[in-house]
């Protein structure tokens, strides 16, 4: 199993046809599932309860996904605890439960490798001057290994002269930004940050200050979700348009990913679609019976990644909905399935009398 994972990780992320990928994946995921089944007791109980037979071969469609919320409720590990080198946490607001993801060195290095290979496809292999729309504080405390810090560190491998656009108090450090942009004028630069923070603490502040930046050659990569921006009715195209107006950035790539599958992110291509790579896939599932949707049909997003072996996060059921737009035939030329996100599933109105006094 590990051999086939290593060999696919050595290949370029957007060149394998889905036919070939499916064949390789069937083998990898059968084995990955059995690995987690044998090594993670909670995972085993779930599969046993669902009547999954590990001896039979299964297509990926038949392997039960783990609902993403479970990583907040349980510490799910598929290796001996002594092998765990890093624990990653999702960034939850205070009072919320956070996901805990346990990494051994193999899983951690696969994450780094997958992220590097995917990113190179969009910004090139050369390191670029990098502007991070965040504060340095997030990465200072290595004990507090948050998803935010992990994202910054992961992408920083592609940058040099890494400059943080926000100070300790999360205010715009306009001097640092201007010095950075003067210094690297007319060079390709990498800009990275989280969608909501870019909008709230970078874009809006620049507007307030009435500042324009000349980051015309900048490539912006951002992720973290649209939940808060959707509430402000800011969509991807509004986001792009406004950023271009204020700082001249023309190349913007959103990515979809979660701390439970760090590394194998789904990057937005020039045509505006999110792409699965050779290291990952998505399936949309109908909520009525979890059967797999047709192309163009909206369903719950299941995320598939070859990376996790130290925790059972290789097939995850998210709480987002989306649709597959096509497979292998995106106008950007990349192979793999490409898709759109429709957003987070709506909270149901709770009926009943187990209430809160509000």
């Amino acid at each position: 199993m590990m051999d086939s994972i290593v060999s696919i990780l050595n290949r370029s992320p957007y060149s394998i046809s889905s036919q070939e990928k499916d064949a390789i994946y069937e083998d990898i995921f059968f084995n990955l599932t059995n690995h987690h089944y044998s090594n993670c007791p909670q995972y085993r109980r779930i599969l046993d309860t669902l009547g999954y037979d590990t001896k039979k071969t299964h297509t990926i469609d038949d392997i039960p996904p783990i609902p993403v919320r479970l990583f907040k409720e349980y510490e799910l590990v598929s290796v001996d605890r002594s092998k765990v080198v890093k624990t990653m946490m999702s960034s939850g607001t205070s009072g919320q439960k956070v996901s805990k993801i346990f990494l051994d060195s193999e899983t951690a290095s696969r994450q780094t490798k997958a992220l590097a290979k995917i990113t190179s496809e969009f910004i090139g292999k050369k390191r670029l001057p990098m502007l991070v729309i965040d504060t340095k504080e997030v990465v200072k405390d290595r004990n507090l290994f948050s998803a935010r810090g992990a994202g910054i560190l992961g992408f920083s491998l592609h940058g040099f002269d890494v400059t943080y656009a926000l100070d300790k108090e999360m205010n715009l450090d306009i001097e640092a930004i201007e010095a950075f942009s003067t210094k690297h004028k007319d060079k390709d630069i990498l800009i990275f940050g989280f969608t909501y923070m870019i909008w709230e603490l970078f874009y809006k502040e620049l507007v307030k200050l009435n500042k324009k930046l000349g980051l015309d050659k900048g490539i912006l990569i951002h992720g973290g979700g649209w939940k808060k921006l959707a509430a402000e009715e800011v969509d991807n195209s509004t986001f792009k348009k406004n950023l271009q107006n204020v700082c001249g950035i023309q190349r913007v790539h959103n990515y979809y990913g979660m701390v439970e599958q760090t590394g194998s992110i789904f990057m937005e291509c020039e045509a505006g679609y999110l792409h699965s790579s050779a290291y990952s896939d998505v399936k949309m599932r109908r909520h009525g019976d979890f059967s797999v949707c047709d192309i163009g049909e909206v369903g719950l997003i299941e995320l598939i990644s070859i990376i996790p072996s130290s925790y059972p996060g290789h097939i995850i059921l998210s709480e987002d909905t989306g649709e597959i737009v096509g497979i292998d035939d995106c106008q950007c030329g990349r192979t793999g399935s490409y898709f759109k996100i429709h957003g987070r599933i709506k909270k149901a109105e709770i009926r009943g009398c187990s209430d809160t006094f509000s």
Partner: protein, 399 residues
């Protein structure tokens, strides 16, 4: 305290602050007539068609039903209401405040009812109907006995209202009740709390085997109404089905297939329901060691059979159509699970006297209600083991 109308934090939906309190005898004629008129008005409102729970409430307070309930009481001649009852309705059940108000009225009291802060159209529909009925001069006494108010969570208001009532009725989760109890009521005051409860169901498998198609569908509809109608969140909705009798495998399938048919036709399963249910299933797979098998009717109905009933089974709740099942040889073998949390036992095909004996002979601390399948959500003047009319009135002891 500050009068309602001068307090900007309080929105008054009905009435004024009760000042001169004059209680009535339980089931006073004026009160019963008022409910009958309210029932007629609600019945013909177009909005009632949109909200089946308003229809159900109207049906409940119709004249015939109130007369029938009244006839059960034989000792009301020397009873009179306590005075003012302060009601705190649950925040997520729009209609509940109306029943609570009727409880207070029928026992002869003036009432201050706090409805959920969250806006529910059902609340406004009922309040405007009540206002319409109260406009009739003959209900002058009743008018002075009803105030319905809405305010955002506010300790001062709750404290004030608590200190000025003769009885307080609290509906809600355990934390809510604890919180509200921290505000004292007068020394002679009565507190009635309707807290979080757990309910289950007993079915005799042989009676299912004998059922014809029509009766089977009726039974399945009753079960659907007990559970799916409130996404299984109501205190009286069962989470556990205990099977008695023989030939269980086939008859169980017969029953659940019929339930599933109705669910597929009627239930609006949302994506969040599926995800919640599936997540719960995975959590239970980890946490509940006694699971022996799972039957899934897609994501519409989950049945999880458990081979032994752990004493804490009441902490495992289903939602939106998720049931635990247990095969029993004798009902008495499950007495160990029953604790104070247990409220309603719904049944089919089992002699109800047997179930009463189950509670009494085993000297159980829980189970306050034993009703046929289909009646789980029917609210009554005896609720959670409390005789509301007698608890909210006093006796004039005459010799």
């Amino acid at each position: 305290m500050i009068p309602f109308h001068d307090d900007n934090n309080i929105e008054v939906l009905i009435g004024t602050q009760p000042d001169l309190i004059k209680p009535l005898m339980p089931f006073d004629d004026q009160c019963c007539d008022f409910l009958a008129d309210l029932s007629s008005i609600l019945n013909v409102l177009p909005e009632s068609k949109t909200y089946p729970e308003i229809m159900a409430f109207a049906f409940w307070c119709r004249k015939a039903n109130i007369t029938k309930i009244k006839s059960i009481y034989t000792d009301l001649d020397s009873r009179i209401g306590l005075g003012i009852v302060f009601h705190i309705a649950p925040s997520n059940v729009p209609i509940n405040f109306a029943y609570s108000l009727v409880f207070g009225l029928l026992s002869g009291n003036a009432n201050v009812v706090r409805v959920p802060f969250r806006l529910f159209p059902q609340v406004d529909v009922i309040c405007s109907a009540i206002n319409k009925v109260l406009a009739n001069k003959k209900y002058q006494d009743i008018r002075n006995m009803i105030s319905v108010i809405r305010y955002e969570y506010n300790d001062t208001i709750t404290e004030d209202l608590s200190s000025n009532c003769d009885a307080r009725v609290i509906w809600g989760g355990d934390d809510t009740i604890r919180k509200i109890r921290s505000f004292p009521i007068p020394v002679r005051g009565t507190d009635i709390s309707f807290a979080d409860r757990y309910s289950f169901c007993v079915i005799d498998s042989e009676s299912i085997a004998d059922l014809d198609q029509i009766k089977l569908i009726q039974l399945a509809e009753g079960f659907y109404n007990d559970t799916y109608l409130m996404d299984q969140n109501a205190c009286s909705s069962p989470h556990l089905v205990v099977w008695a009798g023989h030939h269980k495998t086939e008859t169980k399938k017969k029953f659940w297939d019929a339930v599933n048919d109705i669910v597929t036709k009627k239930y609006d399963l949302e994506a969040i329901n599926s995800v919640d249910k599936y997540t719960l299933l995975c959590q239970n797979a980890i946490a509940l060691e006694e699971i022996s098998s799972l039957d899934r009717y897609k994501n519409y109905l989950y049945r999880q059979t458990i081979k032994e009933l752990p004493a804490n089974i009441d902490t495992f709740r289903g939602k939106c159509g998720y049931f635990f099942e247990y095969d029993a040889n004798d009902i008495n073998e499950i007495s160990h699970i029953v604790n104070k949390k247990y409220q309603t036992l719904t049944y089919y095909g089992v002699d109800k006297q047997l179930l009463v004996d189950f509670v009494l002979k085993n000297r159980l601390l829980g189970i306050d209600r034993i009703v046929p399948i289909g009646k789980a959500l029917d609210i009554g003047l005896i609720w959670d083991g409390i005789d509301v009319i007698r608890s909210l009135s006093r006796v004039v002891d005459v010799h």
